[in-house]
Each structure stands twice: as C-alpha cells, then as structure tokens.
Amino acid sequence: MRIKTTLKYQINDYMKTLIIYYLSIIGITIFFGIIPVFFKGAGYLTLGGFEFLTSVMLFVLGLFSFKEMFLMMLQNGISRKTMFIGRLITMSAVSIVASIIDRLIINVGKIISKANDKIVIAGIYDMMFEQRNQKSLLYNLKAIFITIFLYMAVILFGYFIAAIFYRMNRAAKLAVAVGVPAFLLVVLPILDYTVFNGKVFLLINNFLNFVFAGDNPYNLLITCLLFIAAVVCLSWVVIRKAVDKK
C-alpha cells in the first residue's frame, strides 16, 4: 500500500483549511476580546461555542473533500482501500489537532475572562458538562479526549454524505436533497402529532438530553463511538464500489 504518500497528500490538503480556520477564530477572539477594554459599558461580552464552530467547519471539510480527493487518488493509481484508510487516519489526526487547539484557545480565554470580568470566554463542553475543577490537567485531557471523538463523528458524517451523493445519479441526489429535509421538517412533525401523539419528538428529546445535557460526558463519548463505527462501515460499503463517473 502507498499509504505514506496518500497520507502526506491528504493531510496537506486538510491543513490549509485548518490554518485558515484557526487564524480566523484567533483573530475574531482577539478582536471581540478587546472591545470591552476600550468600550466600558454596563454589560459584558460572552464568547463561546468554539467546539460548535469547529464541528461545523469539520462537517463542511468532510463534505467537500470527497470527490476531488477521490479523483486525484484514482489519477495517481491509489486503490480505494488505501485512500479510505488514509482518509480515516487523516480525519483522526485533524480531530486530535483541532481538539487540542480548541482547548488551548478556551483556556487562554478563561485567563482573559479572569483578568477582565466584562468578558466571558468558555467552551461548550465546559458549559454542558462540568463547571468545577476546570483548571485541572485531568479535566482538560478528558475534554480533549471526548472532543476528539465528537469531531471525528462530525467530519466522518460529512465525508459519508459526500460519498453517498457521489454515488447517486442526478435524480436520486435531488430526491434525497429535497426528501430528507421535507421528511424531517414537515412529514415527521405531522406524523408525530397525528399518529404518534408526540412520542417521536419526546424520544429524540430524551436522547439529546442523554447525550448532551447530562452530567456524564461519557454518554456523548459512547454515542460518538457507536456513530463512528456505524459511519465507517457504511462509508466503506459506499466507497469500495465507487467508480470514476467522468
């Protein structure tokens, strides 16, 4: 297998996006972080949601990285197996890097928050799960560890959707692009209200509470691990038969 070269190319491809993203995030944080220093009002400024922003970025990255990479690998005689293994390793590496950088930004933000009580900078993980002992190394390592799997789940999902769309013909793409949102936003609420007496949304709500709103971040970890395992298997089923459509 020519995994080393494949990895080198794929990581290089992702790194450009990561650098641009984090330069933007750091720039935005610095810009909004200094506003309260110069404009002293009665209110205070809250900056947060770094993990959410990164998740969106990684989802989009996964979504837009399939077709171009697939064709480039085919052009250079790389098998689907090698490109898929390379992709999994690259996604893992990107998730680890993003998770560490996010935690660093959040911790620097906490120092700024402490120095100026008009600014509150915090991460979603901190707000959701644990409010205490946030300074400890163990806490930060745990946060990084769990966020890695959240990011992997998100980027893999984007990749999986892109792979499925690549395999579909135009009619199927249109049907899914319209059908899935229509089902989730229109049909399911109507069915839930008329047929299931609200049990479907109650179930979804309970699931989301189990994953995100509980005191235990390991619920999120287990959910991500199961999701990753399922998406990896499904992605391989889709990719192993993917062909040049040019």
């Binding site: 190319y9 171009e68 480039m72 005689g77 098998s79 689907r80 062909v243 040049d244 040019k246």
Partner: protein, 282 residues
C-alpha cells in the same frame, strides 16, 4: 512484463461496452488503440487503471492482479481526456505531487517540457485552455517513467505545432526508456508512423490486434491518371477513392501486387485511416 487483459466484460445498463476482451500489451512497444466513438477504448483503459470495475474477467500488470492493488497500479500512468486533478492547484504543485506518487517522475524533464510548450508552471489547472489542459497532462505522462503509459486522446485541443512537438517528445522518450505507450486517438493519420502495434476495437470487441506492417498488407493504394486507375480497379474491392484534377487514388483491399508499377500506375501502402474506416464501418 506485460499488461494482460483476460476476458474482461463491462456493461453499462443494457449497453455492452466491453465484451470478453482479451488482449496483451507487451513491454517496450507503442500501441495504437483505435476505435470509433463509443467503441470501448476509454472503458478498457479505465478498467486497466482500476478507475472502473469490470463485470467479469481480470487485468494483470506484470502478473499481479490490478484490481484494488497499489503495487500493480503504481506501474501504470493514465493520461485521460478529462481532468482528474484538483482545479485550484498550480501546475508545479501537480508536478511535485506526481513525484510523490510516482518516485521515478522526472521533475527536471517535466519543467523542460513545460518550457518548450510555454506552459506557465504557476498557473492553476482551471485557468488553462483545452489545449494546455492536454499539454500539462501529456507532460506528466512523458515524464512519469512508469513501465506503462496509457494516453487517452493525448492531443485533444492541441494545435498542429504542439501536436508535432508532442509526437517528437514521445518518440524521444520511447527511445530513452523501456516504457510501453498505448495511444488511444481518432487522429489515425498522425500516429500511423508512430505506432508499432495496432489494436482495433469495435462495439466492445477486439477485431484486430496486429503489427502496423501486417495490417498494411490488408490492402494498397493505386494512384495515377483517373482513366487508368478506373480501369485497374474495375474488378477490385475498392474501399475509397480520392480524386484531384485528372489524378486519382484508389484504396484497394487485397494483397499488394508484386510489381510496384502497373502500366503508369503507382502502387503504395494503404492509407491506415481508410483501412480503419473500412474495418470499423457498420
């Protein structure tokens, strides 16, 4: 050392693109893969390079199955009519990455070819014209130094000067390396002096796989005064005629007569394109 294609079949819905195709591309030979539009040329090349999967049969590259096999696939480079490279990447970066994927890629030679073709290395793929899109891929194909180089419509959009340059560089490269080149093109006349072995594919089947010399014995050309040519061909199987003023050239199927001059007529080798048209005509 060869690419062996064994009973490869590929269907697209109800259309049979390749029908139990068996052919071998031997080492250090220039092949012409000829066929009409939709005959199955690109499909065959795509199956060899693992870009699409065949429904049946197998491809062996130097004895190794090519399907999903990195070791076999690294021995083949395919230049396609369509672009597979990212559009926002500079040509020099494509050269650099090709060197990573194919360690024998000659970067210096590629740069010298780019210079000869006046291709700017700092340009992005998407900013290239159709001709230069072919040129950058042709440069890679000529510099990649893999044992097998497959060229699918390599001169698409190239002007006459660039086509001539490409053929000269191809011959130069062929003489320097031990590579096998497979050229799929519709410009038969232009490559007729280049190719050694001709494979003609028709409706997914290989109908001819012979050396150029052998194929040329299928017929001959008779040229001379129109009245003399008409008289000569009256009992012959003629596949085409060209007339200019009082002169005429007729393309005749059958063995070349032993005497080269027949009563004021000139006998020469058959025009490959005319023969191709005859062989692939419905």
């Amino acid at each position: 050392m060869s690419i062996e294609i064994k009973d490869v079949t590929k269907n697209y819905g109800t259309t049979c693109a390749l029908d139990k195709v068996s052919v071998t591309f031997e080492n250090n030979t220039i092949y012409g893969l000829l066929g009409r539009n939709g005959a199955g040329k690109t499909t065959l090349l795509n199956v060899i390079t693992n870009r699409i999967f065949s429904d049946a049969g197998e491809v062996l590259i130097d004895g190794i199955p090519a399907r999903e096999n990195d070791e076999a696939l690294r021995k083949v480079y395919m230049m396609s009519e369509k672009n597979y490279y990212p559009e926002n990447i500079k040509i020099k970066d494509i050269f650099r990455w090709t060197g990573e994927f194919y360690p024998d890629f000659d970067f210096e030679y590629a740069c010298s070819l780019a210079d000869a073709f006046e291709l700017h290395l700092n340009k992005n793929v998407k900013s290239l014209s159709t001709g230069y899109n072919s040129i950058f891929k042709a440069i890679i194909a000529l510099s990649v130094n893999t044992p097998y180089v497959l060229l699918d419509e390599p001169v698409l959009g190239l002007d006459a000067n660039h086509r001539d340059m490409f053929y000269r560089f191809l011959i130069e490269r062929y003489s320097e390396t031990q590579s096998t080149f497979v050229i799929s093109t519709h410009l038969i006349e232009e490559i007729s002096n280049l190719i050694e072995q001709i494979i003609i594919i028709k409706k997914g089947k290989i109908i001819k796989n012979e050396s150029r010399e052998e194929l040329m014995t299928y017929g001959y050309t008779v040229s001379g005064k129109a009245s003399l040519v008409d008289e000569y061909i009256s009992d012959k199987y003629v596949i085409g005629v060209d007339s200019i003023g009082g002169l005429k050239s007729a393309y005749v199927m059958g063995q070349l007569p032993k005497e080269k001059t027949l009563e004021g007529l000139e006998i020469t080798k058959i025009d490959l394109q005319k023969l191709f048209i005859k062989l692939t005509d419905n």
